[in-house]
């Protein structure tokens, strides 16, 4: 089981889109390594012959009847938007170039 390095945590912060501070990274390194040590015992019993469980109460997937329903109105859908304009969400620019 690999351990959490500084670089790894910085990379995970990028993947998870959290701009972790220097202080957080340092503290998290200790904590995560201690947690990882405790939880990697799962591999002792997870042998090839054991099937994984995703849903503990398995159900047959089914399709809902194709009946029209009233969704949220545009106003309701936008009601929590941090920034909105003309009935639309306003997002910062997606690409970084000037």
């Amino acid at each position: 089981m690999s351990t959490f390095t500084r670089e790894e945590i910085t990379h995970l912060g990028d993947l998870a889109r959290i701009a972790l501070t220097e202080k957080e990274i340092v503290r998290m390194q200790d904590e995560l390594n201690s947690i990882a040590e405790s939880i990697n015992t799962v591999q002792e019993v997870a042998t090839d012959d054991v099937q994984p469980t995703a849903n503990p109460v398995p159900l047959e997937a089914y399709l809902r009847p194709d009946v029209a329903q009233k969704p949220l109105t545009q106003e309701q859908a936008l009601s929590g938007a941090p920034v909105k304009e003309d009935g639309m969400f306003v997002a910062p620019r997606i690409l970084g170039e000037e």
Partner: protein, 512 residues
């Protein structure tokens, strides 16, 4: 003792009976609880938001119904309830105790809220929790600590500490919680109340803010087993808006609870889980547990020891599955459509991706970040099989263990938590110490089983101890009978409910 104090100390079923007998109106019940909330909140801080106007309007609407219409409603109609702030309520701010949702007013109701409204149960407000239900003490709330009504220097448990404290402190007769690894049951144990996690899929999760979707379940927090049964019957049953909702009617829990109150358990086989208890468990928790086992036997139950050999791996599997699913579920908080948005500092490109990173850095607390990072790692290429894949296999092994146990016995028992409520700050700096507190509640979530905690008595220093029952999947009623029987036997010993031993200074001075 004032009228108000006497009224709020009734069980929800008793309140409902008084409504039917026209001894009290729903408005009077709501007003009584609002008075307690006003008096108690400075000491307990169980609520993040009190929805007084909404509750009074809902009560008036119920009181105005004809007797004929009232008779068609569920038994708890007109009795007020508090809601963990992890469940969305249309028009009432819902935060999950996180800065990232501060001020968010949902445009829709969770299915359970629709059902409570259909049952005309007024909603008193939203209760405090660990941020996004991640924690075992409610100390991870971004807004406030909630105090344990038994001793305000102690935590009320978590994540549903607010709901448990509100019910224990008589601010509400009933509350809803969410239980991912014990978040209803462990606070129940810590506050001397009843907490139930139904079978996974027995109560719709539509509108429950998602933490770990294969583990999360909504359930009741109450002061009696019958109240939990009645509340479960209001909120349970199939919902086509939740793809994991079991397409079957609710189980007859109230009937089983009433049967249990007769205190006859002849013919019932009870399995004591060998692997939960002993080392790491407080001695007086084990003492109360053993006394309860004796009471079950006195009522005719046959108690045998059963083994679930893989339970020792449950905590590890849980702390892989839960952060993995949480890291995925919490990806939705991206500052785009609702919630907090924080733009990057001026020297950082003002892009959408950077906005997300600074929003999530500012909006999430330490525990949430820790779990997102851990989950992101567990799901990443190269580690998925070793971590998430292995944890899913452990779930299969634990389910097999339980299936074998339920071949031998009707219901399983163990303590709810290894300790009684601890002091503020005791475990907050050490994540593993906090995680270990969930060791007895997690197995039911991993296996999708229904489980409940009821008060088992007090520790040497006067704090409540919890006793846990676990039943087979989709047979929730099976645990209500022995739970109600044990509750009745204990209350006879104590000369009343466990809360008779609790000091409630906030109830004095009401009705002045």
């Amino acid at each position: 003792m004032s009228d108000t104090a006497a009224l709020v100390q009734l069980t929800a079923a008793e309140m409902a009976e008084k409504i039917r007998n026209k001894e009290v109106t729903s408005r009077e019940l709501v007003e009584a609880h609002l008075a307690v909330i006003e008096a108690a909140e400075p000491q307990l801080q169980a609520f993040l938001k009190v929805s007084a106007q909404e509750a009074l309007a809902q009560a008036d609407e119920f009181d105005a119904l004809s007797d004929e219409d009232k008779a068609k409603l569920p038994e708890l109609a007109g009795v007020p309830i508090a809601i963990k702030d992890m469940i969305v309520t249309e028009g009432i701010e819902t935060t999950a105790a996180s800065r990232i949702l501060e001020g968010w007013v949902p445009p829709y109701d969770a299915t359970v809220i629709e059902r409570l409204k259909a049952a005309h149960m007024p909603i008193l407000g939203k209760t405090n929790l660990d941020e996004f239900a991640m924690g075992s003490s409610t100390e991870h709330s971004a807004y406030q600590n909630t105090m344990n009504p038994w001793n305000t220097e102690c935590v009320p448990g978590g994540s549903g500490g607010g709901s448990a404290a509100a019910v224990a402190g008589f601010e509400a007769p009933l509350a809803l919680g969410t239980d991912t690894g014990g978040s209803i049951r462990q606070p129940g144990a810590f506050t001397g109340t009843v907490g139930v996690k139904p079978t996974y899929g027995a109560v719709s999760r539509y509108g429950a803010i998602a933490m770990a979707s294969s583990l999360d379940q909504i359930g009741p927090a109450t002061r009696s087993v019958l109240d939990s049964a009645l509340l479960y019957e209001v909120i349970g049953g199939h919902d086509k808006r939740d793809s994991t909702s079991i397409p079957e009617p609710v189980r007859p829990a109230a009937e089983a609870a009433r049967e249990g109150a007769k205190r006859d358990l002849k013919g019932m086989k009870v399995g004591l889980i060998k692997e939960i208890g002993g080392e790491g468990f407080q001695q007086d928790v084990l003492d109360r547990f053993n006394e309860c086992v004796k009471l079950l036997e006195d009522m005719g139950a046959e108690v045998v020891e059963v083994s679930c050999p893989h339970i020792g791996y449950a905590l590890s599997a849980y702390y892989i599955v839960m952060p993995s699913e949480a890291s995925s579920n919490l990806a939705r908080y991206d500052g785009m459509r609702y919630g907090l948005r924080v733009m990057p500092p001026v020297d950082v490109p003002q892009t959408a991706a950077n906005m997300m990173s600074y929003t999530r850095e500012a909006g999430f607390g330490d525990e949430v970040k820790r779990r997102i990072i851990l989950g992101t790692y567990a799901l990443s290429a190269g580690y998925y099989d070793a971590w998430y894949g292995s944890a899913q296999k452990v779930r299969t092994l634990i389910i097999d263990d339980f299936n074998k146990a339920f071949d031998q016995v009707d219901v399983l028992i163990c303590p709810t938590a290894p300790t009684t409520a601890f002091k503020f700050g005791d475990k907050i700096e050490d994540p593993m110490a906090m995680y270990v507190n969930d060791i007895a509640t997690i197995p039911a979530n991993l296996a999708g089983l229904p489980a409940m905690s009821i008060p088992a008595g007090l520790s040497g220093d006067g704090m409540p101890v919890g006793f846990q029952f676990l039943a087979p999947q989709k047979r929730d009623e099976v645990m209500y009978k022995p739970a109600a029987a044990l509750e009745a036997a204990l209350e006879e010993q104590w000369g009343g409910p466990v809360w008779k031993s609790m000091n409630t200074p906030w109830l004095e001075g009401l009705n002045k």
